[in-house]
Symmetry: C2
Subunit: 331 residues, 2 copies
């Protein structure tokens, strides 16, 4: 295993400490519960928007904490759900009179722990509700999932709800907004390599030198099939067809297009994929109103990429354009 | 070779086309000469700041084009200098009455081609001058270098000169500024894996499963030595010592600290490195006024990272904080 790591047991805490040290004015770190939260939260004037899932998907979710995005995130270990206590403490810490919205990606471990934490918090009178994201069209059920998985489309739910919460939306309004974004967003990915969690020390799956996993999950879950490597354009064509036919997206739609790297793929290759995806959008009569090319939801150092399409309306375009700040800034 | 690529011969043009398609308002692509330039440049009111080097280091340098950064970039093939004609055409295209500043990283191919292009342009009466960046402390001379190599410290020269040019600085002022930044910035990197240029189809060097290259160059040039893998903190300690003792940085200095990923290392690991580097700065009495964690100057999918320290004064802090926009935005 060749990684920048000290004791693998401390990988997540040391990463979180690094994130907090790099953002001393914007973020706070609560080591007892793996919580990263906005230094200026909670206040009483807005709904708190929070999320927690396995680590290893950075910048999702801890580096998506900041003004206009998440108020807090509570990650678990690499590829493992946050313990129920962490979820519960995160809700309590971010409690606000206007309520708390928990955004959950659809994995059984995350759902179970967050559901219990939400119930416990509600029993104490905290106004908290949750919403489950499931944008991955690759498979219906999966290794860790009943129903579709939540993947990079999650970014758009966070961005929209984060912006609306900042503007004073109510908890019920935010639930409706999350439902709207989730209903309009579709994703699918492909993996070229596996990846190695520090504490495991070996790859989570094997894949041949000439193979790719089409429709891979972000924890290496099997997708639609194992296939031989193909040219970039052919790969885009397959995932674009799968994603765009699912909603379906229609000529005249305005969309946000995301090419998301899975961690180990250089950004040069992501732009080669974007080129073809933009051509396909143009051919299909889709107008790309906003685009996103980079690492948003990763699987450690996995080489691979996913494509996400979000159908826009004026409300969503406005919310996506709203100011936001997170740890993964360039400047 | 497992990459998102079509015909390897088209890798760079297809990437550039993707970058232009993703930034239709901000950027223009000139396919004849591999040039990416600001859509609103050149104007007569400012010095044009340009750069060109081998591809494969993205986001450097083509994705560093934008307001407050580069006005244009002219990349060559992967890890090969841009042809002299490309450099020459880039200077001519960005010609401005206030002058053109060419920022060159110190590699022999880049220097030779840009020097010839600058001479040709000067012979035609164009007011163009160049500056060579050499921030890598790892080795004195290298495979492709007489003198030190230019690596991620390049970002700070671009950022400072880009901001100053936007404010109307003269060509001579910008040359002095570039010299000042270059004199105050030091870098060193370590590689855990090799990388594979698409047209070459095989790794540029071999490295054992338990080895790292300390002081690696961004084209895989040998560094100070091949060593066995060590814990993250020990790796940071070695490169921090090499970098901070070189200027030397002194207690009381205000600095910018960059942990730069070489392309294949997940951002989680970069924050583990940042944690230790921030501790070391604190121990050494250095105040981190600005920090940068992410991929700035890469070597395709190479796993590895570099550490850059820049000594700040009020002028540099002000210029680093100035607004800028580039293709690799998150939102």
């Amino acid at each position: 295993m060749k990684k920048f790591v000290n004791d693998p047991a401390n990988f997540v805490p040391e990463m979180l400490e690094g994130v907090a040290l790099a953002n001393p004015e914007m973020l706070r770190y609560v080591p007892e519960y793996n919580i990263i939260h906005r230094a200026d939260r909670p206040h009483n004037d807005k709904v708190s928007v929070i999320q927690g899932s396995g680590s290893g998907h950075e910048p999702a979710h801890i580096m998506a904490v900041g003004p206009g995005m998440l108020d807090a995130a509570s990650p678990g270990g690499v590829f493992s759900a946050p313990p129920m206590e962490f979820c519960y403490e995160c809700i309590k810490l971010m409690n606000s009179p206007k309520g708390v919205l928990v955004l959950i990606n659809n994995y059984q471990g995350d759902r179970m722990n967050w559901d219990m934490a939400v119930e416990m918090a509600q029993a104490e009178g905290i106004n908290v509700k949750s919403f489950v994201i499931d944008d991955d069209v690759a498979v219906q059920d999966s290794t860790h999932t009943v129903g579709r998985r939540g993947v990079a489309g999650n970014f758009f739910v966070i961005k929209a709800c984060g912006a609306a919460a900042e503007r004073g939306a109510s908890l019920d309004d935010l639930l409706k907004l999350a439902e709207k974004v989730n209903s309009q967003v579709r994703s699918m990915g492909v993996a070229l390599t596996s990846c190695t969690p520090p504490a495991k020390g070996k790859p989570i799956f094997e894949i041949g030198d000439d193979e790719m996993e089409v429709g891979v999950g972000i924890h290496g879950e099997p997708g639609r099939r194992r296939d031989k490597m193909k040219p970039a354009d052919a790969i885009v064509d397959e995932i674009f067809d799968a994603v765009s036919s699912d909603l379906p997206f229609k000529s005249g739609d305005r969309v946000a297009l995301m090419i998301n790297g899975l961690g180990g793929t250089p950004i040069s290759e992501l732009y080669v994929l974007y080129r073809r995806a933009a051509q396909r959008c143009s051919d299909a009569g889709l107008t790309i109103a906003r685009n996103y090319v980079g690492n948003y939801c990763t699987s450690l150092e996995m080489a691979g990429a996913s494509l996400t399409l979000l159908r826009l309306d004026s409300e969503l375009e406005d919310l996506l354009a709203a100011p936001a700040e997170i740890a993964t800034r360039i400047f």
